[in-house]
């Protein structure tokens, strides 16, 4: 018997198999969009359906948030990817023969991320994340330029070291759970581990959490483990940058948060909160300052992703229902806005034939519609009202002010620094005399507009259903 939750995994994997057999990139792009749409439909069905805890899969209020974001952004990215890749083939940057694997890998990556999110087993979750990571490594090296190979190599080395350490942490968790739950699969099952945490050895839990934090923290892009992130974002195809920033970082964060829930179940174990607060704030402030020196537009927004992941980790580190709620909301808003920005940036880079910020000027004259979409998305990520990012950042800062007034100064300062940097760059890109090359682009505005509308709606009015849902998820987090 097939359960609802199996569709979000089966559809992408079956689509990947079909796509390998399709030589034409036009047909491939259409199949890719259809498959992503079906996965999104399965995700929505899951949101509306019942919550189940099975042997292999777990669907609760917490991971369903991640699955919903994952399938939605996967769907919109596939629409963007169709128009982006079409342009790359016309200009000859990518040979069509690669595309067959590109679409198949895209689906396999989406499927692996969903496996990771839905698995009720710490080992299977690790496998899903590892496969998704390896696929993105190949995708980052897709252009085969010296820069993209350097980026892919660095990404591969750092990500595999991170993921190896995470696996060691996973073994330690198993070892901690084994006396309480018995040998075999039960000691690797999320739902059982969470309940049995108080019977585990706190010393092993502490050590495990350190390994898991360093391991999965590398994938989240927390400073000082972030070195792979800007290169991987800048050199790969832009749809992959959008998926990396919007989704893969979230999946790693999901892993970290699940383990935090287990560790938090033991009163004598290390409190993950202060460690996460410190790492989050260091990433936030460090990335905010790094924004000023960027000359490459995709690299700029890669650092902005580090900044926002830092803020999200900080919020979850603070803990409590309100901060967790704000963290989840900010994560959703960041995924939507940042992938929207990458959609715009991808078309801009194609229009101007360069990613160097200094060579992109006067966009409002040469490509007015693109300029408006880009400007709105950047204003949204800066935290300007009325967009949803403002609401979530405001919530994070106010809850922190209420509990630890002095601590709230640090994220507020970091956000202001980042705001200045992004606004300065935005001005240069939008206004001034258009210079350099200028190509017409058949940009597909549907994904960007969709994301912006969602973020705008969330900023103006959050439906009560959504609030209740996020609140239940936040409560699960403790």
């Amino acid at each position: 018997m097939i359960h609802t939750y199996q569709f979000v995994v089966l559809v992408p994997y079956v689509a990947a198999l079909i796509l390998v057999a399709i030589p034409s990139y036009r047909v491939g792009a259409i199949v890719n969009v259809v498959a992503s749409g079906l996965t999104f439909a399965a995700g929505l069905w899951l949101v509306g359906g019942e919550r189940t805890v099975g042997h292999y899969a777990i669907v609760d209020e917490f991971n369903i948030v991640f699955i919903a974001i994952n399938t939605l952004v996967g769907f919109t990215t596939s629409i963007f990817s169709a128009s982006y890749i079409g342009h790359e083939i016309e200009t000859g940057r990518l040979p069509p023969s690669f595309l067959r694997f590109y679409h198949a890998m895209f689906q396999a990556m989406m499927g692996s991320m969903n496996v990771s999110l839905i698995a009720n087993n710490i080992g299977v979750m690790w496998v899903g994340l590892e496969i998704a990571t390896l696929i993105t490594v190949v995708m980052v090296g897709l252009y085969r330029t010296p820069q993209s190979i350097e980026a892919a190599w660095k990404y591969f080395i750092l990500a595999s070291v991170g993921i190896s350490l995470a696996f060691f942490g996973t073994i330690l968790i198993y070892l901690a759970g084994q006396p309480a739950l018995g040998e075999g699969v039960p000691a690797m099952t999320w739902s059982l581990l969470e309940g049995a945490a108080s019977k585990m050895d706190p010393a092993i839990l502490d050590l495990a959490f350190i390994f898991l934090l360093i391991g999965y923290g590398t994938k989240v892009g927390l400073a000082p483990l972030h070195a792979w992130l800007p290169d991987a974002h800048a050199e790969g195809p832009t749809p992959i940058s959008a998926v990396l920033s919007g989704l893969l970082l979230n999946v790693a964060l999901y892993a970290l948060l699940r383990f935090k829930m287990v560790i938090a179940g033991h009163p004598a174990a290390l409190n993950p909160g202060p460690v996460m607060i410190t790492m989050g704030l260091v990433s936030l402030v460090f990335a905010a300052f790094m924004l000023y020196q960027r000359r490459d537009i995709k690299r700029l927004f890669a650092y902005s992703s580090i900044e926002h992941m830092g803020l999200i980790v900080f919020a979850f580190g603070m803990g409590g229902p309100l901060a967790n709620f704000a963290g989840l909301l900010h994560m959703a808003m960041h995924s939507l806005t940042k992938s929207g920005i990458f959609f715009a940036v991808g078309h801009i880079a194609q229009a101007k034939g360069t990613q160097r910020i200094a060579e992109i000027t006067g966009l409002s004259e040469s490509h007015p519609r693109l300029a408006i979409a880009f400007a709105l998305a950047v204003l949204a990520i800066c935290g300007m009202p009325p967009f949803g990012v403002f609401a979530s950042e405001f919530l994070i800062l106010t809850t922190t002010f209420a509990r630890e007034p002095w601590l709230a100064l640090v994220p507020a300062f970091g956000l202001l620094v980042a705001f200045g940097a992004l606004l300065m760059r935005l001005q240069g890109v939008i206004f001034g005399e258009p210079a350099g090359q200028s190509h017409p682009v058949k940009a597909s505005f549907v994904p960007i507009v969709m994301h912006l509308l969602l973020v705008l709606t969330a900023g103006i009015y959050l439906p009560a259903v959504l609030v209740a849902w996020f609140r239940r998820a936040a409560e699960l987090l403790g």
Partner: protein, 220 residues
Amino acid sequence: MNEVYDISHLLAGVMLVTSFALLYQGRIASVVNTFAAQSITLSLAVAWAAWSQDRPDLFITATIAFTLKGVIIPIALHRTVARLGIHHEVEKVVGVGIALMVGLALTALAQALLLKVAHSPENYYAGEQLALALAIILLGFLMMILRRNAVTQVVGFMSMENGLILAATGARGMPLVVEVSVAFSVLIALFVFAVFVFRIRERFDTIDVGALDRMRGDRR
């Protein structure tokens, strides 16, 4: 019961020694041979665990480790090295003396971390095995940092994976799912690595990873 642990600790100890040997090898060919020796020791350790814990499924993992990492991958790497004509010296970032000292410090760190954890009697032996495995993982990590050559970095990474499999078998009753997936991931890893080794060669006429440092995006 103690002989069981003595033999598994002996094999894990031999693996640790080969990890140290990997750090001071001067030629790429001998690095590959040392790695093969480590993988074969790993397959023995896993086979011993399979027999002593009465878990026949672990024999599959042992067989994979032996054929894939003990035979096929070393032969493939030897061929790659011969075809690219790079059988000369390994380029090192620091001298052998410093590398070995750092390696010793990492081993001591691994022991200190895990023996503190394994204070309860039922965890003691597993903890000892995990400490050795962690030392092997950290030494593989160290090797990746200290070597500039793409092939030796590959070997460092796979040596880390050896440590991971040792750790996974040290935890009693850990499901097979995980071991198979580790082997699987190594396969993909090798595929990815192979692609990159050839592409790096194709673009730069060298597999010295140091040549890549010039290609950082922002310094163009």
